[in-house]
């Protein structure tokens, strides 16, 4: 092996989009490959867990881990990779904040299994089989990882050095991160590798925002024909921009869809959902109790909308277990 820095990629509870974001570096990936040795990347290269176990502790310069942690196997693998790596980068929303799989924290193992293996309209499972952690087949015991009731962000399981936000992280942020690592020009540990200001500050629609922004009724994007130039909040549609970090290149806004918050909050904020709730409540256009309640009724799923990508990393982290039946 050469003395080029060693890099690893791993995935946990994720959709594969973050792996795709590496492939989407297109020809730039050749520059990356030229500068580093990829020593572990299950989605693309055939390495096994024992190969990682055989590596010296701390010998991998940097490991990019995407996906949230919800299985015992994922916990085991990220702990192993932590031991073998100098730097761990949480790659993408799921690993940074819990992401879309993190919405599973409104449920638990039992209700999720019941839905997935019994009640979805597309389930065809006449024998009612569900995955078991242990099963005996021809006298041999087979095992599966255990499935947790709660989804965790990566830094709730292991120590994380840097965060690449986004669903998935855009190519320029990934390239900047790789370059910073190769040149040793990294910000202080724990930094989110994207500018620390809100999306509204970069949003082209910011100028269309009225001086006093107020909302009489909240609409969902499919209920209105969205004007391609006006601030979404001014159109009465929930846009997470005020409570979301910038750096994404406003891909959604460009496609005339409001921000859903995948970059998470800025450094000043602990809890993205609570902060957005605070901002949104401030601009509701009513002072009367009954009228306020009427507007609040038009917000169909506040928790799911405000914590779409950040539930496991929020202050409360999940729904109360006793409340789930």
């Amino acid at each position: 092996m050469s003395d080029k820095p060693k890099v690893a990629f791993y995935w946990c509870s994720s959709c594969g989009g973050c792996e795709e974001s590496i492939v989407d570096l297109a020809e730039d990936i050749l520059k990356v490959v030229e500068a580093v040795d990829i020593v572990f990347w299950p989605v693309a290269l055939d390495f096994k867990k024992k190969d990682v176990e055989a590596m010296e502790d701390g010998s991998i310069a940097v490991t990019f881990i995407n996906g949230a942690v919800r299985l015992s196997e994922q916990e085991e693998m990220v702990k192993l990779l932590r031991k073998k790596s100098g730097l761990i980068v949480a790659h993408g929303s799921c690993s940074h904040l819990g992401g879309i799989p993190g919405l599973g924290n409104f449920w638990n193992k039992e209700t999720i299994f019941n839905r997935a293996y019994h009640t979805t309209p597309s389930t065809d499972n006449p024998d009612g089989t569900v995955p078991l952690e242990k099963v005996e087949v021809e006298g041999k015991e087979l095992t599966l990882p255990s499935f947790y009731d709660t989804v965790y962000a990566l830094d709730q399981v292991i120590d994380v050095d840097y965060y690449l936000p986004g669903c998935a992280p855009p190519r320029d942020l990934i390239l900047n991160a790789v370059q910073a690592i190769l040149e040793g020009k990294l910000p202080p540990k724990g930094a989110v590798l994207s500018p620390n200001k809100s999306l509204c500050e970069d949003c082209k629609r910011n100028d269309s925002k009225p001086d006093k922004l107020t909302i009489k009724e909240i609409k969902r994007p499919w209920e209105v024909i969205l004007d391609p130039e006006t601030c979404f909040l001014a159109q009465g549609v929930i846009c997470m921009g005020p409570a979301t970090r910038t750096g994404c290149g406003e891909r959604c806004i460009e496609a005339n869809m409001p921000c859903r918050g995948c970059f998470g909050p800025t450094d000043q904020v602990f809890d993205q959902g609570a902060k957005f709730l605070s901002a949104l409540a401030s601009i509701l256009d009513a002072d009367d109790e009954k009228e306020i309640e009427k507007i609040v009724d038009t917000i169909v799923d506040p928790a799911g909308s405000f914590y779409r990508f950040s539930l496991p990393h929020s202050i409360l982290r999940r729904r109360r277990m006793e409340d789930i039946k």
């Binding site: 015992s72 916990e75 085991e76 924290n105 409104f106 947790y148 009731d149 709660t150 965790y152 399981v157 904020v269 602990f270 809890d271 959902g273 609570a274 902060k275 709730l277 605070s278 949104l280 409540a281 401030s282 509701l284 009513a286 002072d287 109790e289 306020i292 309640e293 609040v296 917000i299 799923d301 506040p302 928790a303 799911g304 405000f306 929020s314 202050i315 409360l316 982290r317 999940r318 729904r319 109360r320 277990m321 006793e322 409340d323 789930i324």
Partner: protein, 145 residues
């Protein structure tokens, strides 16, 4: 907990201009009321960030009170209206987390209403006592050691 009587832990965010002064009046007038409330003085009920409320529940509160000036009386014109809107929206969201509406209360208490503060504390303590402890743990201690 099972052998002792359960005493609810309540956190109260009181605006300095009306409600905190009202609570002070209840004290100086020697009105007896349930001692379960931990009072935090804030400049305005509109200063209460929803993050404070969530943090209180996470750190062990069984109930959270926000108390401010009556509508129209806010020292900063409209801080209490903001508190009202946030309270209604946050209550709805807390229910999605399994935290009952009764655990999160908003009350208007003026500087002259020592008796109302006494009544709010007593009522809130008894209501939360009926609900029992919240014991928020946020899914901790589930993973491997």
């Amino acid at each position: 907990m099972s052998h002792e009587a359960y005493e609810p832990k309540l956190v109260g965010f009181l605006c300095t201009w009306c409600s905190y002064t009202g609570a002070d009046l209840a004290g100086t007038s020697r009105m007896a009321y349930a001692p379960n409330m931990r009072i935090i003085r804030v400049m305005c009920s509109g200063r209460v960030d929803p993050q404070f409320v969530l943090k209180a529940f996470k750190e062990g509160a069984d109930g959270v009170l926000i108390s401010g000036c009556h509508p129209g009386d806010c020292h900063y014109q409209e801080g209490n209206y903001k508190a009202l809107r946030r309270h209604r929206l946050l209550s709805k969201m807390l229910e999605q987390f399994g935290i009952e509406k009764e655990r999160f209360r908003l009350e208007w208490v003026s500087a002259a209403e020592g008796a109302k503060f006494q009544q709010v504390c007593n009522e809130f303590t008894e209501e939360v006592r009926l609900l029992g402890p919240l014991n928020w743990n946020g899914g901790k201690n589930e993973r491997q050691a």
